[in-house]
């Protein structure tokens, strides 16, 4: 079997996690290239539907990375994001998908190392879970139809 390379989307808030990702870069800390970042001003902007759609169209895993608890630039966006991630986890469970495919992580702007570590761990988790919804079958048929 050909080795499975998961595709992972990370929604990162501008103030903390995205900066942490840049920090990982400037420190040349490597992490799996599977992780691709979409920048948002605050994780409070990330809607449950964004996570679901990402899975639907081909992501094998999605995570939301915001500021540390209590440190959100916008007071509590990270808390709301976490609640939405939990809702998506519940929906996935109901649908028979692994809830581990979505996650919430919290980082401060200075945590380049931890950003990389999170990316590594999450990628490993998804690698073990195997291909996600969008990868199973059908996606090409749908595109064609």
């Amino acid at each position: 079997m050909e080795t499975f390379e998961p595709e992972i989307v990370a929604f990162c808030c501008h103030y903390c996690a995205y900066t942490a990702a840049d920090m990982a870069g400037s420190k040349r800390i490597s992490y799996p290239s599977n992780v691709k970042i979409i920048r948002v001003p605050c994780t409070g902007k990330v809607d449950a539907i964004h996570l679901m759609k990402a899975l639907e169209i081909g992501a094998d895993g999605v995570y939301v990375a915001g500021c540390l608890a209590g440190d959100c630039h916008f007071k509590n966006g990270n808390v709301r994001a976490e609640a939405r991630v939990n809702r998506v986890k519940k929906m996935l469970t109901e649908l028979g998908w692994e809830p581990e495919r979505v996650a919430m992580v919290k980082l401060s702007a200075g945590m380049g190392e931890q950003f990389a570590e999170t990316a590594r761990k999450f990628t490993e988790t998804i690698r073990k879970l195997g291909p996600g919804p969008g990868k199973r079958t059908g996606i090409d048929d749908r595109a064609a139809s």
Binding site: E7, C42, K45, D71
Partner: protein, 1014 residues
């Protein structure tokens, strides 16, 4: 007189500042002034500004690419309205006095009209010998421009080497060659002068023992930087000069030409070499192979900057860089291999060792050049014994001549953050000779009117920066472009080299106009640092600034996946697809603005806070000082004398009087900050003041944090237990108050690094070595008979402090090194103290009877206070609880949260002198913000589609800032000037009636689509 590229009309202005020297310091000073709307003329003897930093490869401690870091500043310099740049210009005479100088400037002919030159490079291609391309110090220059982000962005001609002027003129399509260009002399009126001329680097060829300039494989630190640099002679490959092989074993020799007493040596410490050697060694391992052996030969490892000790630990522990405490005697070149053998002696071994290396880097330091000495003479400023500018002891940017200020290395050897601090300080001081500027004089930036693109189909231009090696070295940019071109709506896809250089920017602008593009994708570095730059580019060509999407190909791709180029390539394709899909959905947006509060809040009423407040108040800014103690003065109140011998109390007293008397300063002592709201330019801070904690609120536009640090007092070495174990701070008082008691002593032992550079507080406290030397000298002054022992780990008397260190040794102060695994011990038996330690030179344990043991305990951060304020203000801190500035290298005074500035020991331990400088800098930086009439809130605000709104109140309840409300029409209303742009409401709206502009759902979903497009 030949008129060419100077703008004569602005030269007549007499309210301006002349900045001499276009290195990072000069640029920073000039930009600070220009941003606070003072007219500035920046002159540089070279044909492009940038100075030394542009030639470095990476900077410590972040190991960022230097050019990338500095280039935004260079090109910003070219954009500023209040700033003129005159390259190839020197000052020949300065007359008059502060506020009304008359400066005579001479500009050498460039023979190129900078307005016309497009820097196409045709001239350099055809007449390489006649077109100036040499970068000065380094013969192994890049082949085209000195560096690709040169400012001004134009070539220059060496007319002596031109053989056929007609042919040269013909080759220039822009008709920019000025055959008859002449040396011009201009006399201008200036109010003040900022000297930012820097210093030269020592040329090791004058030394006969290291083979500098003689052996192929012995290079200076700067040459090594050039070799590693992507824009260097080997395109970023590490090679030996002799045979082009990659070295396997590289050595660095520290203090070459510095801290010496031999021929050609200078006695002072250059302050930066330890860090740059560590950096070069780390980057070598990181980029060219972990198997390369790196060895640093040093005397004292001087990593005294903020968090630099952690860098040292990383170099040693993570990168396995070998450190040998020894100053090698000589280097011998092997004639066959051109390898180098180094002979050195170890501290504890009597016999010398010899070891062979492939390459040796000489860490050479700063020297004042002859030209600079001439300039000083013309300016009429005094020099110190080392030919650097002599400066005020409490105010290092003041030269002996009023109205002339100095910053950077020319003041004393220093690294970039300190240069940046001084530059801002010098700018702030220089501005004090100018009339106060009122915000009402502000006029709008002039950009061309925006093109209406409604109804137009997307026409996307994709531009990819190779950023030298950083991106292009890992990705196949051509392949990327081919893949990009297959996407719908992409009209242009181009590689643009260093995208942020003015050359490339001009190219992009031209292509946008030529192809009538209405959307732009830039593949380059992080939007966090470069988005504004490219947004401005769009504005220049009449496009709304929200029509650009920055794809982070560097920080989040090539830098992190450098070992997997194939996968980085794949990821780059995906990221670009996402960018293209996203930009297609971008719409023109309007920015929102609010009026700016013109007050300043200074937290902390120590020397730093008072200095900042005075500078601000002098500029007409209403300034509040909030201090928790009953009186102003801070930690300086417990200091008696500086190393220079000045009385601190007098200085503090004068400062307090000035502050108290100033009618623009409101002092709030016994005051505690308890709440904080608002945004940069419109802050509101709640304060409890007085013993009974009366509550009041202050409105302010900016905040300066000057909360200071605490004297450390760890219970080590019997401090607090043995009566005669005291701290240096107590010693300072004892020396002033009880000379008789000191005189009665026979032996005094000082112990360094108490509570610093070890577990729990890993950083260096920076001030203790000079304090110990200061107090040792004072003891010796009271009685030369007293034996003084200083037990140290590394003596960090950086810069000119080295003079005092040397004097102490000359006077017989005994410096004995110890290491952490063999700490000294202090015991008391029947009232007498003994200190035990291991002497490395004698290689035996020794005991010293001491009348007094003085501990250098340094400073620690005020954790409780910085934590409290960090929570209130949402500010980041370092792991050891100091405030964390926005950029450790280039923005040491600004905080990540706009509108907050940092100064003094709240930033990191530093001397009074250094704190004062940073205080001035903070005031200067604050003014750049206050100079604006309005705050731009950006366009990223929530917008309600009233047709979809179900008036459910979810947004009203969800908003962390209580902005949405249900209006008279019965639908949700979100006022753009109140919205903070977090998007929480948009994420929660059950009717999907709210969109966060610039991050709309269809933009995010489009990006997802782009990522998974096949």
């Amino acid at each position: 007189m030949q008129k060419n590229n100077s703008s004569e009309n602005t030269l007549s202005c007499d309210r301006r500042v002349l900045v001499i020297g276009g290195g990072v310091g000069g640029i920073r000073a000039a930009l600070d002034l220009a941003e606070s709307r003072r007219d500035v003329l920046l002159i540089d003897k070279s044909y492009a500004i940038g100075g030394l930093m542009t030639q470095l490869d990476r900077t410590f401690p972040t190991n960022n690419c230097d050019l990338c870091t500095v280039s935004p500043y260079l090109s910003q310099g070219a954009r500023e309205r209040h700033l003129d740049i005159k390259p190839m210009t020197c000052l020949t005479r300065l007359e008059g006095e502060a506020g009304a100088f008359s400066a005579t400037l001479v500009t050498e002919p460039r023979y190129i009209d900078t307005e016309k030159c497009t820097a196409c490079g045709e001239c350099a291609k055809h007449f390489p010998e006649a077109v100036r391309v040499t970068p000065g110090l380094d013969p192994r220059a890049p082949t085209c421009m000195r560096y690709p982000q040169a400012t001004p962005f134009a070539f220059s001609i060496d007319m002596d080497k031109v053989t056929d002027i007609t042919a040269l003129k013909k080759i220039c399509k822009a008709d920019a060659v000025l055959e008859n260009d002449q040396r011009t002399e201009t006399v201008i009126d200036v109010a003040s002068v900022v000297l930012a001329v820097g210093a030269d680097l020592f040329d090791p060829a004058v030394l006969d023992n290291y083979g500098g300039g003689q052996f192929d494989n012995v290079v200076t630190g700067l040459e090594y930087e050039r070799i590693m640099s992507a824009s260097g002679p080997f395109q970023g490959n590490l090679k030996r000069n002799s045979d082009g092989r990659r070295p396997k074993k590289v050595a660095w020799i520290q203090c070459v030409g510095s801290r010496g007493i031999n021929k050609g040596d200078v006695p002072y410490c250059s302050g930066v070499c330890c860090m740059y050697a560590l950096k070069e060694a780390m980057v070598t391992k990181e980029r060219f192979g972990k198997d390369i052996e790196t060895t640093v030969f040093f005397m004292d490892m001087r990593t005294h900057g903020k968090d630099y000790e952690l860098y040292l630990n990383r170099a040693r522990d993570e990168y396995q860089i070998r450190m040998v405490r020894s100053r090698p005697h000589s280097i011998v070149e092997k004639s066959d291999t051109k390898n180098l053998s180094i002979t050195y002696a170890l501290e504890d071994k009597p016999v010398q060792e010899t070891e062979e290396f492939d390459m040796v880097v000489l860490s050479t330091g700063f020297r004042v050049g002859g030209e600079t000495r001439d300039l000083a003479e013309k300016l009429g400023i005094d020099l110190n014994p080392h030919d650097f500018a002599a400066t005020d002891h409490f105010n290092p940017v003041l030269t002996s001549k009023p109205g002339v200020y100095v910053c950077g290395v020319y003041e004393s050897p220093k690294d970039i953050p300190e240069t940046m601090v001084q530059a801002s300080a010098a700018a702030a001081m220089a501005a004090s000779n100018l009339p106060v500027v009122s915000v009402d004089q502000e006029t709008e930036d002039l950009f061309m009117p925006e093109r209406d693109i409604t109804g137009n189909d997307p026409k996307i231009g994709v531009f990819i920066c190779d950023c030298g090696f950083e991106i292009g070295g890992i990705l196949d940019v051509d392949k990327l472009l081919t893949s990009v071109m297959t996407h719908q709506d992409v009209a242009v896809a181009q590689a643009v080299g260093y995208g942020c250089s003015s050359e490339s920017m001009a190219k992009i602008e031209a292509m946008i106009v030529e192809n009538q593009l209405n959307r732009v994708v830039i593949g380059g570095c992080s939007p966090r640092t470069h988005e504004t730059k490219f947004q401005d580019l769009l504005r220049r060509v009449g496009l709304n600034r929200y029509l650009v999407e920055i794809v982070n190909l560097r920080d989040q791709n090539t830098w992190t996946h450098m070992n997997e180029p194939d996968r980085a390539q794949f990821k780059a394709v995906k990221l670009l697809q996402a960018g293209i899909a996203g930009v297609r959905k971008n719409r023109p947006l309007k920015d929102h603005t609010l009026p700016m509060s013109q007050n300043a809040l200074v937290v902390g009423g120590g020397v730093t806070g008072m200095t900042s407040a005075l500078k601000l108040a002098d500029q007409g800014i209403k300034t509040y000082i909030v201090e928790r103690a009953p009186a102003l003065g801070g930690l300086a109140r417990s200091l008696r004398k500086t190393i220079e011998g000045d009385h601190v109390a007098d200085f503090v007293q004068t400062l307090v009087q000035k502050v108290t008397a100033h009618d623009k300063i409101q002092v709030l002592t016994r005051s505690i900050i308890v709440d904080h709201t608002g945004m940069p330019g419109l802050f509101k801070t709640g304060i409890q003041t007085g013993l009974r904690m009366n509550y009041m609120q202050i409105h302010h536009g900016v905040t300066v944090l000057a909360t200071g640090a605490l004297p450390n007092r760890p219970a080590q070495y019997g401090l607090g237990t043995f009566k005669n174990v005291i701290t240096q701070l107590e010693m300072d008082s004892l020396l002033e108050d009880d000379a008789a008691r000191v005189r009665s002593m026979d032996q005094v032992v000082m112990i360094q690094c108490v509570g610093s550079r070890e577990k729990g507080n890993p950083n260096c406290s920076r001030i203790c070595c000079q304090t110990a030397v200061k107090n040792a000298l004072r003891i010796k002054k009271i009685s030369p008979e007293i034996q003084v022992f200083v037990l140290y780990r590394d003596m960090r008397t950086y810069g000119f402090q080295e003079d005092y260190y040397r004097r102490a040794r000359d006077l017989g102060v005994k410096f004995i090194r110890f290491s952490l695994d063999a700490r000294p011990g202090v015991v008391e038996t029947q009232g007498t103290l003994s200190v035990y330690t291991h002497d490395f030179i004698l290689d035996s344990d020794i005991e010293i009877a001491a009348d007094l043991v003085v501990l250098s305990t340094g400073l620690i951060a005020d954790d409780e206070t910085t934590e409290d304020l960090a929570l209130l203000f949402h500010l980041p801190r370092t792991v050891d609880h100091y405030f964390l500035e926005d950029h450790v290298k280039l923005r040491p005074v600004d905080m990540a949260q706009r509108g907050f500035f940092l100064a003094g020991t709240a930033h990191s331990p530093k001397t009074i002198r250094e704190s004062i400088t940073q205080a001035q800098a903070a005031a200067g930086r604050a003014q750049t913000l206050l100079a604006k009439k309005e705050i731009n809130l950006g366009a990223c605000v929530a917008k309600v589609d009233t047709k979809k709104c179900a008036s459910c109140l979810v947004c009203v309840r969800a908003c962390p800032f209580d902005v949405p409300f249900i209006n008279a029409e019965g639908v949700s209303q979100i006022d753009a000037d109140k919205c903070h742009g977090c998007g929480v409401c948009a994420g929660d709206c059950p009717a999907k009636a709210i969109q966060l502009l610039a991050y709309e759902d269809d933009q995010i979903l489009a990006k997802l689509d782009g990522l998974f497009e096949r």
